[in-house]
């Protein structure tokens, strides 16, 4: 018995150890943000003097602030539109019978899997022809290509789980199709919509490739700015880490507040609903 308790204690200790080791790189980023540059260039990661210098320079850097603003705009608009369009489509797929339904659903699933690099060339040419390069709106559109299919698959099980009786009762009461969607289904799948919003926000927020190819200076997003702190000659690790830490805030929020939904969010379209 004593042996067993000892073993349990050891395993709990091991669990903590795993988490500490795993989070070490994140500790490195966060602490680098609060270091002076000279301290970053000494190898011991634990000896440093606390400083807000990097945050000061990042938060007064026009280029970075502008890109942060762009990131917010792009992520918010793209994910809001995608949640709306995705919810409507998911509703149609789960609640209506129509021809080609399975085909449509599977095409949305496969389009979620298409590698971004394969779309980057045609998207670049399309937006160039429309004279929309370095334009925030073209990023909004480009991000729809991964957000909408993802959201449809994320929401399918949420819509499917609502019992038929709900809509039948509403129909008997003479509820119109559009009102049925807005006043009956939307409130019922609200948790799913929140997860969809948060996940598509964070996918857009983290996105790098399209931003790299489709933007230059005006519409540049924050991940590009973070990389730009690498500089041409010497990396500015302090500012890079401060900017990076600011970019991590949504990730912190999502992991600490949405635990329950994370699996659904991560595997949308991969696991039986």
């Amino acid at each position: 018995m004593k042996n067993k308790r000892l073993k349990h204690k050891f395993l709990v200790f091991l669990a903590f150890l795993v988490v500490i080791i795993e989070l070490f790189p994140i500790f490195v980023v966060i602490s680098n943000g609060f270091k002076r540059d000279i301290d970053i260039f000494t190898s011991n990661p634990f000896s440093f003097k606390f400083s807000l210098q990097s945050y000061k320079s990042v938060l007064t850097d026009y280029m970075f602030l502008n890109s942060l603003k762009n990131s917010l705009i792009v992520a918010l608009i793209s994910s809001s539109f995608s949640v709306l369009a995705g919810a409507m489509a998911s509703y149609a797929i789960t609640r209506y019978k129509f021809r080609g339904k399975t085909a449509i659903a599977y095409s949305f699933l496969t389009s979620r899997m298409i590698p971004q690099i394969s779309l980057s060339i045609p998207l670049y040419l399309m937006f160039r022809n429309l004279n929309m390069l370095d334009n925030v709106f073209s990023l909004v559109l480009a991000y729809i290509s991964f957000n909408v299919p993802y959201i449809i698959w994320l929401l399918l099980p949420f819509f499917a789980s609502i019992p038929r009786e709900f809509e039948e009762a509403a129909r008997v009461d003479g509820c119109s199709e559009k009102r049925l969607f807005w006043s009956i289904f939307i409130p019922l799948v609200a948790p799913g919509l929140v997860v969809a919003m948060v996940f598509s926000f964070i996918m857009s927020w983290n996105e790098f490739l399209y931003a790299l190819i489709l933007t230059n200076t005006q519409a540049r997003t924050a991940p590009i700015s973070v990389n730009a702190f690498m500089g041409q000659y010497a990396p500015q690790w302090g500012q890079l880490s401060a900017a990076g830490t600011l970019m991590l805030i949504p990730a912190f929020i999502i992991t600490l507040s949405l635990q329950r939904f994370i699996i659904k969010g991560l595997t949308a379209g991969g696991v039986k609903g």
């Binding site: 599977y106 899997m113 590698p115 394969s118 980057s120 038929r164 199709e177 790098f208 490739l209 696991v271």
Partner: protein
């Protein structure tokens, strides 16, 4: 009866209204671009010299299959998948067993483990390249404490490739963990209890109970990660840019290089289409094993 048939007729027309926004937007930014890329792939087309556009039909594909760098990138990609994903799976598997016990703070630990999954890939890549710097990098510091020599990881082909894989393992094993944990924590307790009473040891329980129970979950997780690993770009791009000496030039990076450094967009499009086809094959395997549209049941 009358009511329901009337309803049916009406409902037959209706989905278009609900499907339209998704169908139109996805067609515009996804279906059309894929068709466009397919079209491009039949042309010799250089962005620097656009007047000289020549329709060459399948010749780009022939050149791709004769391009040693394409095969090298392909092998690097396969190697990446075959090294990184099994390691992620093994770590995720054992940690999910480890975390499947009750203790104070277990919930917080589990959610903290997920942070790397949601970190900016770019920031993850940059942080790893910081930690791997010679002289001031954290990992080199730890190595020197342990009495090893410092290594300029990103300067040599073999170590750079290792570094890129390490970065991916660090960021994605928690993904495996959380999916497998969901499976393990839902496993009926009787299974394990019965096995323990029968005197099964740890490894016996792993091989005869836990793995068979989790098999579908494991397969899904591997497929999702493989599809994901086929498109890896930004982490590697910021860590090594594909170097040194093309040693980390994975497929996405090679396509990007051909398209936006050499401006061979016809050629790059042919590779894009090949990548799409590989992805589709994997997706079909995933779909066939796993997926049903739930709404049909009702």
């Amino acid at each position: 009866m009358l009511l329901s048939s009337k309803n049916k007729k009406k409902r037959g027309n209706f989905p278009l209204f609900f499907l339209a926004p998704a169908l139109i937007s996805v067609t515009a930014v996804l279906v059309f671009p894929i068709a466009y890329a397919l079209g491009l792939s039949f042309f010799e087309w250089n962005l620097m010299n656009e007047a000289n556009r020549v329709f060459i039909f399948f010749k780009n594909y022939v050149s791709v299959f004769n391009d040693p760098q394409f095969w090298k990138s392909f092998l690097l990609q396969i190697g990446f998948i075959f090294i990184a994903i099994p390691i992620e799976l093994i770590i995720g598997f054992f940690v999910s067993i480890l975390m499947n016990r009750k203790f104070k703070g277990a919930g917080v630990l589990r959610s903290l483990l997920l942070l790397p999954v949601f970190i900016l890939p770019v920031l993850s890549g940059l942080t790893w390249s910081f930690m791997l710097q010679p002289e001031y990098g954290t990992i080199n510091y730890i190595l020197s404490l342990l009495g090893f020599k410092q290594i300029a990881w990103l300067a040599y082909p073999g170590t750079a490739y290792t570094a890129v894989i390490l970065q991916d393992i660090w960021r994605m094993w928690p993904f495996m963990f959380i999916i497998l944990y969901a499976g393990i924590s839902g496993m009926p307790k009787e299974f394990e209890e019965a096995a323990t009473i029968d005197g099964a040891g740890f490894w016996q329980r792993v091989f005869y109970i836990i793995i068979p129970y989790l098999k579908p979950t494991i397969i899904t997780a591997i497929l999702l990660r493989t599809i994901d690993a086929l498109r890896i770009f930004s982490e590697v791009y910021v860590m090594t840019g594909g170097g040194p000496g093309n040693s980390t030039l994975l497929l996405s990076l090679y396509i990007n290089k051909q398209a936006f450094e050499y401006f061979n967009i016809g050629y790059a499009s042919a590779m894009s289409i090949i990548l799409i086809v590989v992805t589709l094959i994997l997706t079909i395997i995933l779909v066939r094993g796993n997926i049903e549209i739930d709404g049909d049941k009702a």
